[in-house]
Symmetry: C2
Subunit: 227 residues, 2 copies
């Protein structure tokens, strides 16, 4: 008599996690580290990338996957820097999704020349809510928060601030013109995500951009956790 | 012989539209006009409402329904102005939704003293994507777009700009400190939403806030389309 084999589906991953892990395995095989870059619309994600990628990273080759509802404005800006850029629009096929998920990123993998790069920066759709809920296979998460958005943002969008490894505080050149207390913002950030790393930058003046470049190079140089 | 009666479900509304219509009927019965106020995180929606509601509207009583992922920071700010404010959090019951839909608004209707107000402003969750996709029973839609977010936003989030009756361009006090061409922004806006009304304001200095107040009073004084 044969016993029926029973597979108890107790620890089945949700579909997004399964696909994120598959993406991660592909990135690892190609030796590519991946950063998921998030932030509100207009926080300055693309402008910071432009600043960072001018002249390239030290010792590492970067590529960008641009997530947008529609159009290729940001991808066009970055392509001008001679960085390999792939545009991923969430509108036609996915109905205007407000975030990238692992499956959308997977659908773009065939378009990315992974052997040609060491670091892939995935610029997510401008949104402080849903992108935080979907792992896409990244090694690290960074978000850009502009000082023009106000001190209360960590308290209002806690998941986003909590799930990031780095919070890039942008547009600090405008601080003197705003009613914005950097101390209070950092208190709120610490309350939501104790000990999280942050850096102060200005995409406009270039202040602090070197530190961000250094952080990206650090991620690019990481050993794979799977290796 | 009886013929079988067949109901061909060709024009069945989606659930959100059905509930939005039910909300609308309730608002109409109470003689309340409703504005759905949208915009990116940190665009200045709450600050503008504070400015507008200080001293109240002329001839009309306003109330606010505050949509947030978590917390009641904005509601607390507005309550200080002695305006009836209801907080609606999308996190506990709805899993951190990035927008308000008609059903969430309906769930809050019992908490709002409709006979005590003439105009309900629904401040949506900070997001330029999904809120545009869900009618909640409003008479008019307005969005706040801050000049710090960049000129390209109408092109990148076209549905939001296209479905609004009014685009409030905020933080114009910062224009001189930004690389932002108002002309180019307005060109992009016109391209996406030809003829849409816009106004230039600063919640910080109060410039243009009178025009926004006038617009809200105009909506509050509208005859119901159903009356």
């Amino acid at each position: 008599m044969h016993r029926t084999k029973v597979r108890v589906a107790s620890d089945v991953l949700d579909a997004n996690t399964t696909i994120a892990n598959a993406n991660r395995a592909d990135f690892d095989r190609a030796g590519v580290r991946v950063v998921n870059l998030m932030g509100a619309p207009g926080a300055g994600k693309t402008s910071l990338l432009e600043r960072v990628l001018i002249g390239g990273l030290r010792d590492f080759r970067a590529g960008v996957l641009e997530g947008d509802i529609a159009g290729s404005l940001d991808a066009d800006r970055l392509s001008a820097l001679h960085v390999p850029v792939t545009q991923l629009n969430t509108s036609p096929g996915f109905g205007g999704e407000c975030h990238l998920d692992a499956n959308m990123v997977r659908s773009a993998l065939g378009e990315i020349d992974l052997p040609a790069i060491d670091l892939l920066v995935i610029e997510n759709v401008g949104n402080l809510v849903c992108p935080a809920e979907f792992r896409v296979g990244e090694d690290a998460r960074a978000m850009v928060s502009s000082v023009t958005e106000g001190e209360d943002k960590p308290l209002k969008y806690p998941l986003m601030f909590r799930t990031c490894d780095l919070v890039v505080v942008n547009k600090i050149d405008l601080l003197e013109h705003l009613d914005f207390s950097l101390d209070r913002f950092l208190e709120n950030l610490e309350r939501v995500s104790p000990g999280v790393r942050h850096m102060l930058v200005s995409a406009r003046t270039g202040e602090g951009v070197g530190a961000l470049k250094g952080w990206l190079e650090g991620v690019a140089g990481r050993e794979s956790e799977r290796a």
